[in-house]
């Protein structure tokens, strides 16, 4: 799809003037954000810029103090994680939100178990898990191994696979490569591209600009809770983005 076609498409999810405070700390101030299908929006910013708070709002974990969330043109209150999921917003949290004692299949279907009458249908879940992981080219030692026995990259992959399970429209990833090595980072970024190419909107939160330049279509900068610039990833230079993150204007230019 061409860039024009994507921008003409109505946003799958929009934030309008969202603010959130933790006591005296203003973590988000009047933030707008649009996410469409077929695009990767990178949200970048220094530590403490408010990125995870933004993820909290999108995922229904945090209800913002002010502002609105618009899904498919309708204003909505995302008051619980289950509700956000139901509206097609799937989140991979910074800590992955896995249960270490539960096995891979149990984690993949956590909260959305397949049932057969009143009983869980383990066979159907295992079959579906195998299909999904194969499709994403994810390898794990055993589908019935507790997640505690997996490597960091494998856990990340399980968390992403879980987010994709209910066929969401928007995938939100909070620092997906922060704890990974070089190879695993490349694998996760490939996964992100594959997800985008199959039509999802992706919000990629990161403070790693190399990752961002590798996969993002659009870059949104947060600084001290406020929007501080928005860039086309193909055009913007590394220096421009760093300047927006740190608030120091590069020589001869100013962030938009």
């Amino acid at each position: 799809m061409s860039d024009e076609a994507i921008l003409a498409e109505p946003a799958a999810i929009s934030l309008r003037g969202v603010s959130h405070s933790y006591g005296a700390v203003r973590a988000l101030v009047d933030v707008d954000l649009d996410v469409r299908g077929h695009e990767v929006v990178a949200v970048v910013g220094d530590n403490g810029a408010g990125k995870s708070t933004l993820v909290g709002v999108l995922s229904g974990v945090l209800v913002p103090d002010a502002g609105e969330v618009v899904v498919d043109g309708r204003e909505t209150q995302l008051t619980s994680p289950g509700l956000a999921r139901g509206l097609g917003i799937a989140t991979v949290f910074q800590d992955l939100a896995l249960c270490e004692d539960l096995d891979v299949v149990e984690n993949l279907f956590l909260g959305q178990e397949i049932r057969r009458g009143p009983m869980l249908d383990e066979v159907a879940m295992e079959r579906e898990a195998q299909r999904l992981l194969a499709q994403l080219a994810v390898r794990v030692p055993s589908l019935r191994a507790p997640v505690a026995e997996l490597s960091g990259g494998q856990r990340q992959a399980v968390a992403i696979a879980r987010a994709l399970l209910g066929e969401p429209r928007v995938l939100v990833l909070d620092e997906p490569t922060a704890s990974l090595g070089v190879t695993q980072t490349a694998e996760v970024l490939t996964l992100v591209e594959r997800v985008r190419d199959s039509g999802f909107g992706v919000v990629l939160v990161s403070h790693n600009l190399a990752d961002v330049q590798a996969v993002a279509d659009r870059v949104v900068v947060l600084r001290r809770g406020r929007l501080n610039g928005e860039f086309d990833a193909d055009v913007a230079s590394y220096e421009q983005i760093v300047a927006a993150i740190t608030g120091v204007a590069p020589p001869g230019e100013a962030a938009r």
């Binding site: 249960c99 956590l110 049932r115 009983m119 066979v123 195998q130 080219a137 055993s142 505690a148």
Partner: protein, 392 residues
């Protein structure tokens, strides 16, 4: 691709999750030692008694397992069982209630205590350790009030509760029938599942494994049934306890509620973000625990045909927690099974019964139980530290 094709479960055998094996080994060793010290220990008569002693406390332990699984603790199950014993005794001997009513009221009292715990824990955020300690004291006080000035009540010997708990045993044919039914149901279920797995092109466990496990199950059910039935047989209260274990096991492993219990105990934040109603899960665990404690207290009152100020007192509160941990349920939440209750309580009961046969007082009983508990907690802590993520 690809997902490594390993039959479900095999990795765990090779890995560190040893399941119930440590407690089974401990049990076998204890039995050999006590048998060597006193040839009466493994007599059918003594084992029938042991089973009758273990059943009521095992029901308490089953409740404790649920609370431990959600990562909390209940220090007051003994006190709640004592209160239930008092309620049932007053109902039967003073109020002349019909038996079913007295039992229902006693269990309802337990459920109310659990509901209060659940409410205070989820709404006020009180730590369960302190909360149930406070509950223990309050419950003890109420138990004394219910018993009145004498402080002790005898149950009418002709009441069905006493007969059920003391003299009712499964007829021999029924014991064999149930053992055979269990032995046949297991492979039947596994074969149906196997066919569905084959249809779904999932890895299958080797048929030989299933045959071996079925054979082991046959021995584990038919042999004790036969041996106990050379004496009085399987007590009705023992059968009730085992039925409860089977039901709780099924709920934990095969229902969404069971999954939510393990998820909450493993990582409550993750469970919440996965969409589970975390508060309900906690409340259900506390209510189930206190209700089971009350039922255990009723069974204990029936077995002793009496309730007094000492019912469910002294070390009961702690013994059942020890039993749950010895049986293999983690103190850290998220790991454990319903079978920890019978296995752990059997270990604790064995130590008590074995030392009593040797005419020893309570001192060595406390010490040995404490050492076994320390061993179990060590295994638990090691299991928790297992497999730090590699390949980061």
């Amino acid at each position: 691709m690809s997902v490594l094709r390993t039959p479900a479960g095999t990795v765990r055998w090779a890995g560190r999750d040893l399941g119930s094996w440590p407690v089974l080994v401990a049990l076998a060793m204890l039995w050999l030692v006590f048998q060597a010290a006193n040839p009466n220990f493994l007599s059918a008569d003594n084992l029938v008694n042991l089973a009758l002693q273990v059943a009521p406390l095992g029901v308490l332990t089953l409740g404790v397992v649920l609370v431990l699984l959600v990562g909390q603790i209940d220090l007051s199950t003994g006190a709640v069982s004592g209160l239930a014993a008092a309620v049932v005794a007053v109902g039967l001997s003073q109020q002349r209630w019909p038996g079913w009513l007295a039992v229902l009221v006693a269990i309802a009292v337990g459920a109310v205590v659990g509901a209060v715990y659940g409410w205070a824990f989820t709404r006020l955020g009180l730590p369960s350790f302190v909360l149930t300690l406070a509950g223990l004291l309050v419950t003890l006080g109420v138990q004394m009030r219910v018993l009145g000035t004498t402080g002790s009540l005898n149950l009418p010997f002709e009441s069905w509760l006493v007969r059920f708990s003391q003299q009712a045993f499964l007829p021999d044919w029924l014991g064999y029938l149930l053992a055979a039914a269990l032995t046949l149901t297991y492979p039947a279920i596994r074969l149906v599942e196997r066919r569905r797995r084959a249809a779904a092109e999932l890895p299958l466990e080797p048929g030989r494994d299933l045959a071996v496990r079925t054979a082991l199950l046959a021995v584990a059910t038919l042999l004790p049934t036969w041996y106990l039935q050379t004496n009085r047989g399987i007590g009705a209260s023992v059968a009730l306890f085992l039925l409860l274990v089977l039901v709780v096991d099924l709920l934990l492993r095969r229902t969404r509620w069971g999954r939510s219990v393990r998820a909450v105990g493993s990582n409550v934040g993750s469970a919440h973000r996965a969409g589970f109603a975390v508060r309900h899960v906690y409340v259900s665990a506390f209510v189930a625990c206190s209700s089971l404690a009350a039922l255990g207290g009723v069974m204990q009152a029936g077995r002793l045909a009496a309730a007094n100020q000492g019912s469910g007192g002294s070390d009961t509160n702690l013994t059942v927690i020890a039993a749950a941990v010895i049986g293999g349920t983690s103190l850290f939440g998220g790991r454990g099974s319903a079978w920890s209750a019978p296995l752990g309580m059997l270990v604790v009961g064995t130590i008590s019964s074995g030392l009593t046969l040797l005419n020893l007082d309570s001192a060595p009983r406390y010490i040995v139980t404490g050492l076994v508990l320390a061993l179990a907690v060590t295994l638990d802590a090691l299991g928790r530290r297992r497999a730090p993520a590699t390949g980061r």
